[in-house]
Amino acid sequence: MKDRTLFEYTLALADDALVSAQRMGWWISRAPELEEDVALANIGLDQLGQARTLLTYAGELEGEGRSEDDLAYLRDDREFRNVKLVERPMTDFGVAMARLLVFSTYQLHLYRALATSRDQTLAGVAAKAVKEVAYHVDHAAHWVLRLGDGTEESHSRMQAALDAEWPYVDELFAPLAPSLAGRVADPAELRDAVLSDVRRVVTEATLSMPEVPSALGGGREGLHTEHLGYLLAEMQHLHRSHPGATW
């Protein structure tokens, strides 16, 4: 392989987006209103689009002829490189908005930094994704504001959701492999900017930034929670049962 670390880096970005998209899709038909179904589906599809381009590029970097479908549908959980933040169940609307706020704010800063990086392909993908992700941040922020600064119950549930997501935030900012320094965006350098953006929304929503210990990382090394296996079983079974199926 030409560049193993760049392949892993690209795969990590792709898997974050892909797994998040799959979780977002769960909300279709389950959101509080039809309008919100559509909004969350749109967001999921944006993420899926990012994942597809990134997976295709990862396949090229690997140089073993794997397509986006091969990478999405024919890897097992140990081969996925996404953070645990995005793989855990997301069946509470407060949790969905808390996670989207954190994750999309992270993506926004990451893609902005990548858009000016030396890797032309990643820079191109990132430049296109920045506008999409900015809207995801906006959507999540508006809901966090309304739920946090809403009724007593919505406030306490929004705070509980933030607290539940927070142990998994740290993993987003794992430092870059040394051989990639200066070539792509370093997640560790984004921490202050991301957390300060999130804090602004959380504070305005009359919520408090959680102070909870971080959970064990490992997603980037393929060590996932049990939930990813179930997610992949649902996402992959059609392709595995009917290879190459199209409609």
Partner: protein, 95 residues
């Protein structure tokens, strides 16, 4: 969160600069800001617009079918209101 709490909004979309906002449909949203965002997702998915207005449906005063005769029929036989007496020079566009 029940539907009862989410009012109905009417959505107007302007396709491009120079055109007017045209009624595109309606949606439910908890407030004006979210209504704008929902409208963006529902009515401009395929690049239909450059500007959106949302108006709370209950704020619109509409004519009723009962009033149709008194409102609109008298206009029908007043041909002098229609600019049909002018010759349009050839080559004039946008008329």
């Amino acid at each position: 969160m029940s539907t009862r709490d989410w009012p109905l909004w009417e959505v107007f979309v302007r396709a491009r600069r120079g055109l007017s906002h045209v009624h595109a449909g309606s949606l439910h949203a908890p407030d004006a800001e979210m209504a704008l965002r929902n409208a963006r997702d529902l009515y401009t998915r395929r690049g239909e617009g450059v500007s959106i207005w949302v108006v709370r449906a209950s704020d619109i005063e509409a004519s009723t079918p009962d009033e149709r005769d008194s409102f609109f029929d008298p206009a029908a036989d007043k041909i002098y209101r229609h600019p049909t007496f002018y010759d349009v020079p050839e080559g004039v566009e946008h008329l």
